[in-house]
């Protein structure tokens, strides 16, 4: 029992032995030594709580937070000592805060439970007692034989037993695990692969022994013991026999496998990283402020305690005749009394730490994050995907980004390779409608006639369609996947729908292109590759594959042609092939390749070499020798490869386009205008990267491009860096762009980090190519930890970007083609790169302003709240008498002032979103956490203190040191001048405070929706109604009736009303004056853009989005000027329609239809925008 508990709590690892023994189909041996083992079931648990442990566990977690713990301590102190306020005053808010947080966390956990249940409840087929049984995924136990059909994911880690193929192999794709999209072949053991039916499996007697679960996806060591006809056959099992949970079965009708690791022990689950908690800059400054306030609190408490004892030194103050102490008080020890006095002051002032700050911030983030998902502008119609928020904790960080690190392929580009052009034997061709058209010729040949390709062209196409490592997946005819190529029918293919799978999208694009043109790769069978060239099937025997590697940057195949000749086809980067070519149109091809690269196409060069029989024997011998070498195999292989891949005959070059995503250029330009530096980190080679960089506007043509490439040694690298730094210094007029490759980067980072940073900071664009995933993360960390501590954002779509996404302050996943890995590990996920600009410039800006004001306002209102209480101590002998009634103390933060700020922080829009998007420069206004800088914090805090002084001394003076401000009680009895007591005084201060604090927020509010009106005026009204009600009853369970009719008496006095009005106005009008003066004398650009009245802004923004960025700023401003002239005439009436901030054109007044007609007349097409 105890062990079970410990296991549940995760103290004990459940396994002790090094291996686990799995009896296939759970047929345990009837005799012999059998030790039952416990395995986890196949449940995936991502939820944190269960119904039973929710309350204790959640409470425990919540009180681990410093603030909550602090209030718990205060509450306990109140229970223990003789306190000025009842324990309820801090107990109730604490309870409220804890409950709200618990509800939120409970809801989130419920969502996780639901997701878990969906996964755990997915139907699976399991072989049980001789038949195929459908059950739920969670019921799979270790040892069960599971059947998985095509295109299903594996529900657990399975050891492959058999597939529908005779050789017992199957293909899977692990895109969702590691992002690799190519097909992988997995094998089964010969003894089990024959068991292709349930009945055969039923007869199978086998035991799998394997290691205990571990996280490494590529490691699996085990063996299977099959008992056949009484004898035991032992076979080794490796990773190629293991089908991982989460991978998908492809190209194979069905497989049977035995579950080896289930549930949380599967490799996928073990790879679940508990996401490192990212904390936003706002939260960090919030904590700093809290500490400052804690210091203020301690200071006030210590000061009060000391002053109290200073006063008490004299008997006449300590114990006058009218106010004697009890015996107990007189006799208690002075030290204890001192401590309890200190604690009492602490309790009295503890409200200066805003208790509801955290819960409000949390609610704001949680509720506010819905707006991202709801935004139509972040919705991608084609893929039907909306933006997705994984962590609402970082909303405001989106408004603080200084560096954007972006992946290239799939993020800036579509990751949809399209074959565009090729160069064959010195002639350029374009692909038009599935035909190759030589340059200069139009596609006017009548349709249907098969173009006759001359020898070189055919050879080129054969080379392209044979020299690759593509695999084919045949779709079943009844499958409705629309991936089939329409051209396959046009070209007379009657075969099934084919889908190519390749680890490189370029290869896939090339093979698909040759298929369209007429030379189709139809599959490989063993070592025979089949192509259909214009309907004629050809079989090539694959003799050798010279695999691709990053150093050679090319790959080759050696084939035996149908006619028996041996030929080598090679393809690779032009710098890796052209030097080894001896024949063919080398110069022309080189020119073409450069042209392609300039167009941003990814280029590959194709060459071939025909072997004479003698040559081939030599080649074969060398290759085999190298492959079987026991020592220095790598070197010898390299040597052999370079021996073989020479004297090539150049066939031609291909140009494959990776289409840029929509509006990438505008987005990057907008980000740059917003003061964000964009770094492109890519695994691509430097030429392609630079050309894409140029075409997407990351690099400008006018930019001076610095290079740090192929540095081989430390010194060389340092020298180059110094040279670059010098060049930047000499020429600081033009912008610089830096290109670094992975190898040089690692050198630069190893020794010369500072120098490198120096260079980088002075470059307006940086491009890092040939980056390994880990290097990407390293670059991010380098920037993150640099002295300025900039806020970084990483955006990517593939598994190789995950480390970078997790490293950066904000990680954004693109929902692209390369699996969901990036999305799952990101904080936010969007469908397209272009959405980034709205996400940052609009949502980020809003969230930041909202939360910054929220935080500052919270501190402000609590200073206002508690400082009068502190001041009152000077007038009551530091006796810890409260100024306000306990109920007011309790409800101030949770009722009277909570909702307006929450609504503000959800709906505030300082500037119209369109202006924000169209004027990226506004983003700079909030950079560097400017709204939470120490200066603004000081401003708010001092403002709080000032207001508190005005509340207190205003009431003090107006009420008089005598009770001159007295109700004349006209309502109750004519002309009676009645006196006020201390509670009335406190209520006056409190009333003034509630009104002022609420109105102060109203002054900050720029965007008054009906909800703002409702909660602002509602809060004040609620305060009055509540006070009337609270003071109107003798409360049966309270032992003092201090507040009875106090509020009514206060309000029935005319001068009280006069006092309230004058104090509120005195507090607020300097603030208004300050705002107006700053706006006029030192306007921020945000404020400037506010002063564009709403309808004006609207038309203006329409205008600006018309002239897209390619047209340059000058054209834009000219148009804007024109517009301004037109709208300038109607400014007077425009002022009247401040309220109509609706974006749609149709909703604006008829008046503006004039403008619209002018807009439509303008030469620029509106459809651009």
């Amino acid at each position: 029992m105890l062990r079970w508990i410990r296991q549940q709590l995760g103290f004990d690892p459940p396994h002790q032995s090094d291996t686990r023994t799995v009896y296939v189909a759970n047929r345990f041996p009837q005799h012999g030594h059998y030790v039952p083992q416990r395995f986890a079931d196949n449940r995936i648990i991502s939820s944190k709580y269960t119904v039973w442990n929710f309350v204790p566990k959640n409470l425990f977690e919540q009180f681990r937070r410093i603030a909550n713990f602090y209030f718990l301590i205060i509450f306990l102190v109140q229970l223990m000592i003789d306190t000025p306020t009842s324990p309820i005053t801090s107990g109730l808010p604490l309870f409220f805060v804890i409950t709200v947080t618990a509800i939120k966390q409970g809801y989130e956990d419920w969502l996780r439970h639901k997701a878990d249940n969906e996964v755990n409840g997915a139907p699976v087929f399991v072989v049980r007692s001789g038949s195929l049984v459908q059950t739920r995924s969670k019921n799979i136990r270790v040892g069960d034989i599971v059947r998985v059909a095509k295109d299903e994911t594996f529900p657990a880690d399975l050891a492959l037993l058999s597939s529908d193929r005779a050789d017992g192999t199957c293909h899977i794709t692990t895109a969702s695990l590691d992002g690799e999209t190519n097909l992988k072949t997995h094998y089964s053991v010969a003894e089990t692969s024959v068991c292709q039916s349930v009945s055969q499996l039923e007869a199978l007697q086998a035991v799998v022994e394997c290691q205990q679960p571990e996280a490494d996806l590529y490691r699996f060591v085990g063996r299977i013991t099959v008992t056949q006809h009484g004898e035991e056959i032992v076979r080794p099992l490796g990773p190629e026999n293991l089908l991982l949970r989460g991978a998908r079965l492809k190209n194979t009708k069905e497989i049977y496998g035995v579950a080896v690791y289930t549930g949380m022990e599967s490799k996928m689950a073990l790879n679940y990283k508990c996401k490192s908690q990212k904390r936003s800059a706002v939260e960090k400054s919030m904590n700093t402020f809290l500490i400052i306030y804690l210091v203020i609190l301690l200071f006030e408490a210590v000061l009060s305690t000391i002053l109290k004892y200073a006063w008490q030194a004299e008997e006449k103050w300590n114990e006058p005749f009218y106010n004697q102490k009890t015996e107990q008080e007189r006799n208690s020890s002075p030290i204890l009394k001192f401590i309890s006095d200190f604690l009492a002051f602490l309790v009295l002032y503890n409200f200066i730490i805003p208790i509801s700050l955290y819960v409000t911030v949390e609610m704001q983030k949680f509720l506010g994050s819905f707006f991202i998902g709801w935004d139509l502008d972040l919705y991608h119609e084609e893929s039907d995907q909306k933006a997705q928020v994984n962590t609402s904790d970082l909303n405001e960080e989106l408004g603080q980004v200084e560096y954007v690190f972006t992946d290239k392929t799939g993020t800036l580009t579509e990751n949809e390779m399209q074959f565009r052009e090729c160069s064959i034997n010195g002639t350029k061709y374009r692909e038009v409608n599935g035909k190759l058209v030589p340059e200069g010729m139009t596609d006017d040949s009548p349709d249907g006639s098969t173009p006759r390709l001359i020898g070189e062209e055919l050879l080129f196409l054969q080379a392209v369609s044979l020299c690759h490592t593509v695999q084919i997946s045949y779709d079943q005819p009844d499958c409705l996947v629309g991936g089939g190529d329409p051209f396959s029918h046009a070209n007379g293919f009657s075969s099934n729908h084919m889908e190519y799978y390749a680890s490189s999208p370029d290869e896939k694009a090339l093979v698909e292109a040759t298929k369209r043109i007429g030379v189709a790769f139809t599959g490989s069978n063993g070592d025979v590759m089949e192509i259909k060239a214009f309907g004629k099937a050809e079989k090539y025997k694959l003799l050798h594959v010279l695999e691709f590697d990053a150093d050679r940057r090319r790959m080759s195949v050696i084939l035996q042609t149908p006619s028996g000749g041996k030929v080598l086809f090679t393809k690779g980067a032009e710098s890796a092939i052209l030097p080894f070519t001896t024949s063919g149109e080398i110069e022309k091809t080189r020119l073409h390749v450069d042209e392609f690269a300039l167009k941003g196409l990814r280029t590959l060069v194709v060459a071939c070499r025909h072997f004479s029989p003698e040559e081939y024997i030599d080649v074969d011998r060398r290759l085999n020798a190298a492959r079987t070498a026991l020592q220095q195999r790598e070197e010898r292989l390299q040597e052999a490869f370079s021996y073989i891949e020479r004297d090539l005959q150049l066939l031609g070059a291909t140009g494959v386009e990776d289409k840029l995503q929509d509006k990438v250029q505008e987005t990057i330009e907008a980000l740059r205008l917003a003061g964000i530096k964009v770094w492109v980190l890519t695994g691509d080679k430097h030429e392609t990267a630079v050309s894409v960089s140029l075409s997407c506007g990351h690099f400008h043509r006018t930019m001076n491009i610095l290079e740090l490439l192929q540095q081989r040694s430390d010194n060389e690298c340092a020298e180059q860096l110094r040279r670059l730094a010098r060049r930047i210094k000499e020429d600081h007029v033009i912008q610089h762009g830096l290109v670094v490759d992975g190898a040089s980067l690692s050198l630069a980072l190893r020794e010369h980090e500072k120098l490198f940073m120096e260079v980088c900071k002075n470059c307006s664009a940086v491009l890092c190519c040939r980056m390994a995933p880990l290097q990407k993360a390293k670059v991010v960390r380098l920037l993150k930890t640099s002295p300025e501590k900039p806020i970084t954002l990483a955006i990517g779509d593939g598994a190789n970007d995950v480390s970078m996404i997790q490293e950066a302050h904000v990680g954004i996943g693109i929902m692209g083609k390369e699996g969901r890995q990036a999305v799952r590990n990101s904080d936010y996920a969007i469908a397209r790169f272009k959405f980034l600009s709205k996400l940052l410039l609009v949502h980020g800006h809003f969230y930041y302003i909202r939360i910054a004001t929220l935080v500052q306002y919270f501190f402000y209102k609590n200073v206002c709240f508690i400082t009068p209480q502190f001041l009152y101590q000077f007038f009551c002998l530091f006796s810890q008498q409260t100024l306000y009634d306990s109920v007011y103390l309790t409800l101030y933060n949770i009722c009277f002032t909570s909702l307006p700020i929450l609504v503000y922080s959800l709906f505030e829009q300082l500037v119209h979103p369109h202006i924000l998007q169209n004027k990226p420069g506004l983003y700079r206004d909030i950079s560097k956490n400017s709204l939470l800088s120490f200066r603004t914090f000081l401003y708010w805090t001092l403002l709080g203190f000032c207001h508190a002084f005005i509340f207190f001394f205003g009431s003090y003076i107006l009420m008089g040191e005598d009770t001159t401000l007295m109700g004349n009680g006209q309502i109750l009895r004519a002309n009676r001048q009645l006196m006020f007591g201390n509670w009335t005084f406190g209520t006056l201060v409190f009333t003034v405070m509630v009104i002022t604090v609420t109105l102060k927020l109203a002054l900050e509010t720029q965007f008054w929706t009906w909800m703002n009106h409702f909660v602002t005026w509602g809060s004040i009204a609620f305060y009055f109604i509540f006070s009337l009600f609270y003071g109107g009853i003798i409360w049966p369970f309270l032992h003092t009736q201090d507040m009875y009719f106090v509020f009514v008496q206060l309000l029935s006095s005319g001068s009280a009303w006069f006092a309230i009005i004058i104090i509120v106005i005195t507090c607020l009008f300097p603030d208004v004056v300050k705002k107006v003066f700053y706006r006029h004398l030192q306007p921020t650009s945000t404020q400037k853009s506010q002063s564009l009245s709403a309808p004006q802004a609207q038309t203006l923004s329409c205008m600006e989005s018309l002239c897209c960025y390619q047209h340059g700023q000058s054209g834009c401003s000219r148009l804007a000027h024109l517009l301004e002239q037109m709208t300038g005439q109607c400014k007077a009436s425009a002022n009247n329609c401040h309220a109509s901030s609706n974006r749609s054109w149709s909703d604006t007044e008829n008046f503006y239809s004039n403008d619209r007609s002018i807009l439509t007349l303008s030469p620029i097409e509106a459809s651009h925008c």
């Binding site: 006058p320 935004d375 995907q385 720029q1006 008054w1008 208004v1072």
Partner: protein, 367 residues
């Protein structure tokens, strides 16, 4: 870009996109004003132009109000006399020196004073105390509202908040607590010295000085309407410092016991250490004759209340009131000050608006 325009465009697109789009529920967010964060809103901008009128209006309203308040306050007549007896010359010096709680013979002193203006309408008479901390926490909570509300159980067993004034000689104290115990017990009487030499006592109203709700709801004698208060308070003892038990505070049964108005007024603890409390009301006789004509008066004090031990002061105040309460020049001054500052700033803003306003509007944001 006009979003609604755009959205309509996309909507059209969806219908074209074929049956697959129709069968699958689109994840497309709804195009509602709320979800797209474009709820209709009022967007006020604080510029000189918008603030200007407000400032002028505030100025124009506040200055007259301030003047009105100031004049009203100045019209209120107030007379104050300190009878503590600190100085040797003071008539009450002897009484203040020879104080003891259990002296049987009350000490009286007579203070003459002169009113140079006649006091019309109702005149309010206060006593004022200084350096008396009614707002000390130990003091404020030292009361039992249940007892004062006539709860019989609390009468016999006062709350422990009343300590050390809860019990005396093992008998419960009624009313218990430090506040009640230290009730102000000087008796003040006012005489008008007629020019012809006679001394006329001025009638003082003891009732109507407490809040109506206090007298009728919050404070109640035990056993409601039983007029025999002596029997009701049987078994309790008087507060230590009191000379008489609570049921002998007044002859009038409506003003005796816990509902004695002097007692109720005292029980409302003052906010600050220097305070005044309403003592009596001098009702006006008729609209013809001033309530207190100018002339010589005598204040006769039965000096019971010791304040010298804590350097306190005792005062007697006579005051008329206006519609806005007692004399308080500050309110008027505050209104006049704020009003004029607003007005002045309004002028400054007008200048700013004139000079910078136009430029500001046309200025574009440099990206």
């Amino acid at each position: 870009m006009a979003t609604s325009y755009n959205a309509k465009d996309e909507d059209g697109h969806i219908t074209v996109s074929g049956p697959s789009g129709g069968t699958l529920r689109s994840k497309k967010p709804e195009n509602t004003a709320f979800k797209q964060q474009r709820l209709p809103a009022w967007q006020p901008i604080l510029t000189a132009g918008t603030v200007l009128p407000a400032f002028f209006i505030i100025g124009l309203i506040f200055i007259p109000i301030g003047i009105g308040l100031y004049v009203t306050s100045n019209n209120i007549k107030e007379f104050e006399i300190d009878y503590t007896g600190v100085d040797m010359s003071s008539p009450c010096f002897n009484c203040s020196q020879s104080f003891s709680w259990n002296s049987t013979r009350p000490c009286t002193c007579t203070i003459p004073f002169y009113l140079d203006q006649p006091y019309e309408s109702n005149v309010f008479m206060y006593y004022g105390l200084s350096n008396f901390y009614q707002n000390h926490r130990r003091y404020v909570k030292s009361r039992d509202d249940n007892q004062l509300n006539g709860d019989p159980e609390s009468l016999k067993g006062p709350s422990k908040e009343c300590e050390p004034y809860a019990k005396h000689d093992n008998k419960p104290i009624a009313p218990c607590g430090a506040i009640a115990n230290s009730m102000f017990n000087d008796t003040l009487e006012l005489f008008y010295n007629d020019p012809n030499g006679t001394k006329i006592q001025i009638p003082l109203n003891k009732t109507g000085i407490a809040w109506w709700t206090d007298k009728h709801v919050k404070f109640r004698n035990p056993e409601g309407n039983n007029h025999n208060l002596t029997a009701v308070f049987q078994g309790t003892t008087k507060p230590v410092n009191w000379r008489r038990p609570v049921y002998e505070l007044d002859d009038d049964p409506e003003n005796n016991g816990f509902i004695n108005e002097d007692f109720i007024v005292w029980m409302r603890t003052a906010a600050l250490p220097t305070f005044r409390k309403l003592y009596r009301i001098i009702p006006r006789k008729s609209s013809m004759v001033p309530t207190l004509p100018s002339g010589n008066y005598t204040l006769e004090v039965v000096y019971n209340y010791p304040v010298r031990s804590f350097e306190g002061r005792k005062r007697m105040i006579l005051s008329t009131i206006s519609w806005m309460g007692g004399k308080n020049p500050f309110l008027g001054i505050a209104y006049m000050t704020v009003g004029s500052v607003c007005f002045f700033l309004g002028v400054v803003l007008l200048i700013i608006h004139h000079k910078y306003g136009n430029r500001n509007n046309s200025a574009d944001i440099s990206n």
